[in-house]
Amino acid sequence: MFTNLVFIILFMIGFYALVMKTNLIKNVIGLNLMEAAVFFWVISFSDIGGEVAIHKMGEEMTKFNDPVPQALTLTGIVIGASTAALLLTLIIELNKFSGTIDREKIEGLND
């Protein structure tokens, strides 16, 4: 329950920053917060309080956390990092031409 609450709050903060803020870098931060919220939720949801899923020889494993969501989240983090990097590069590029990173003042983004 607590993790769901944290997920919703984080996601909403990210969505607020994406939609309401006019600063493009804050928009990207908002997008990353939303991603972080989803990853956090996935990891905490798959944590059932068991061991790390590494099989040790000669030991019986009774309760362990599912490693697949962790692997999937790792891929998601990599993809999120690369999109964030690309977006920030484009914002720098845009700043060179228009001298501002305010969404409202840049032609082509304000409609």
């Binding site: 994406l18 493009l24 928009n27 997008l31 939303m34 991603e35 989803v38 996935v42 949801f45 798959s46 697949v68 969501p69 999937l72 891929t75 998601g76 993809i79 999120g80 690369s82 999109t83 690309l86 977006l87 484009l90 914002i91 590029e93 845009l94 031409f97 228009s98 840049i106 032609e107 082509g108 983004l109």
Partner: protein, 510 residues
């Protein structure tokens, strides 16, 4: 087990990563490698078709490959059935023509361009071939990143702004898709599409609705259906012409493939009907088609107009597929093929025609037709095909779409098809008339024009560029006369869409 379907993904991926190293040795070798990569890709597809021609005829075509030898549902499976084969072939043909066009068109930063281009090729092949939900997510994100970088390729203010807008919308869609995939994993404990398909109906209907809604939102943003279409025209306008041809000709079709795969094979159409989503989606797609054509009417920019017209056509295809009848699929898939060639051809021709103009605006289109007469005639033929003129491919596909709507008694849909054609007559004829307007150029005008040319639109090899335009026109005219050629592949694809049990059995049992 056929390793060639793995190589369909690996060859473009390998080419993409080899190109920077080739650049270090000798930049002139690059073009040779680009051609080699795309020819190898075509050879693989053709050899798959020829080797399996007998089973294609009999309708039991199916190939698969287990990555790392892990059998499903544990490992990642690549599977190719009739639908995948159809989409793989048409994407490969489109990408083949556009890469040759790019050799003539792109004159600067070629190395970077081809790296991104081949990553798009690899990712679209991957989406079409994979039978694993998470793989689809990874390949979608690959498509988003590479196409976003290509939209910002001109490095102007408009291009960067359009790329940012495109990326924000599409990353959001990708995030929703990720959430959907993970929800499926938590509820069913599997990522294999056939395995999910087998067990999806056993979930509670609330969870089913939630997962379907999340996937639907993600895929509607990606396709540019009505409430989420605002990123599309801008990015079509500012991207270089070959990139726009890829965006419209390949990417939107790949997303349509994901749409069909998700909602027929994985989630199942019965689930959509049970959740009452199908009528909503049908109306949304038709509304999107309507708005696309209306926005196109007021557009004063040729490439943006073509983007709005793409929205109209994608909406129409989605609607006719949502009818879930054989005739609907036949019309929809035929229109996917014809729209792919028509739109890519139009953008390709635009890239040639707009080289002399200062901008893409309506007023600058004046006199374009008189300068490049034969290419402009090819352009007109493609426009007539978009409208739906009888001997061309656009007519055949629109006819089947219209018949499918009438057969299902969806009169609003039939109205939209006719409405689209009629508005298309108005907004295309305007440009044709403007193109033939006489324009007197003084020497000052010419000088100003040459200096104001955007850097990238200076053509590199004019012959190649105009040749590809003619090739697209020849395809439209040739297949317009012989559209029966598509009969066998279309029937095969419809069979593999409708027969979900066979797909499950072959993927899990093979």
């Amino acid at each position: 087990m056929d390793i060639r379907i793995l190589f369909l993904i690996l060859v473009p991926l390998g080419t993409a990563f080899l190109i920077p190293f080739i650049d270090l040795i000798n930049a002139k070798l690059r073009r040779f490698f680009v051609l080699l990569g795309i020819l190898l890709e075509s050879y693989l597809i053709i050899s798959i078709i020829i080797n399996n021609f007998q089973s294609l005829r009999e309708g039991d075509f199916f190939l698969q490959y287990y990555l790392g030898g892990w059998h499903p549902p544990l490992g990642i499976t690549l599977a190719m059935d009739g639908l995948s084969l159809l989409f793989a072939v048409i994407t490969a043909v489109s990408l083949f023509l556009i890469v040759i066009y790019s050799i003539g068109y792109i004159g600067h930063h070629e190395g970077k361009y081809y790296v991104l281009y081949f990553l798009i090729t690899a990712a679209s092949m991957g989406v079409v071939l994979t039978a694993d939900m998470f793989n689809i997510y990874v390949f979608i994100e690959m498509l988003t990143i590479t196409s976003g970088a290509l939209i910002g390729f001109k490095r102007s203010q408009e291009a960067s702004a359009a790329a940012i807008k495109y990326l924000i919308y599409n990353v959001l869609a990708g995030l929703l898709f990720f959430l959907g995939v993970l929800l499926i994993y938590f509820n069913l404990g599997t990522l294999n599409m056939a395995d999910i398909s087998q067990n999806f109906a056993s979930l509670e209907s609330g969870i089913q609705l939630f997962i379907s809604a999340i996937f639907l939102t993600a895929i509607l943003i990606k396709m540019g259906i009505f409430p989420f279409l605002f990123w599309l025209p801008k990015s079509y306008d500012t991207a270089p012409s070959p990139v726009t041809a890829v965006l419209s000709g390949v990417l939107s079709k790949v997303y349509l493939y994901i749409f069909i795969r998700l909602f027929w094979t994985v989630i199942g159409f019965e689930t959509l009907v049970a959740l009452n989503l199908n009528v909503l989606l049908l109306d949304l797609a038709l509304l999107s088609s309507f708005f696309g054509h209306v926005f196109a009417l007021q557009s004063n920019n040729i490439k943006r107009l073509l983007g709005y017209s793409s929205i109209g056509h994608i909406g129409m295809i989605t609607a006719v597929i949502m009818l879930n009848t054989d005739a609907g699929f036949y019309g929809g898939l035929l229109h996917i093929i014809s729209h792919m060639f028509m739109k890519a051809g139009l953008f390709v021709a635009c890239g040639y025609l707009l080289q002399y103009t200062r901008s893409h605006a309506y007023r600058d289109f004046k006199g374009v037709g008189l300068r490049n007469r034969s290419v402009f005639i090819a352009f007109i033929a493609l426009l007539l095909s978009m409208i739906g003129m009888p001997p061309l491919l656009g007519f055949a596909s629109k006819w089947y779409v219209l018949m499918a709507f009438l057969e299902a008694r969806s009169y609003f849909g039939a109205f939209i098809v006719i409405f689209g054609s009629l508005t298309a007559v108005i907004y295309y004829l305007r440009y044709i008339a403007k193109g033939f307007e006489e324009v007197k150029l003084t020497e000052d005008d010419l000088r100003e024009e040459i200096y104001s040319r955007p850097l990238l639109s200076v053509l590199y090899r004019e012959k190649i560029v105009s040749f590809i335009t003619y090739a697209y026109t020849a395809i439209i005219v040739g297949f317009g006369l012989g559209f029966r050629f598509f009969d066998l592949p279309l029937r095969m694809s419809i069979e593999s869409i409708m027969n979900v049990e066979r797909y499950i059995e072959l993927v899990l049992g093979g």
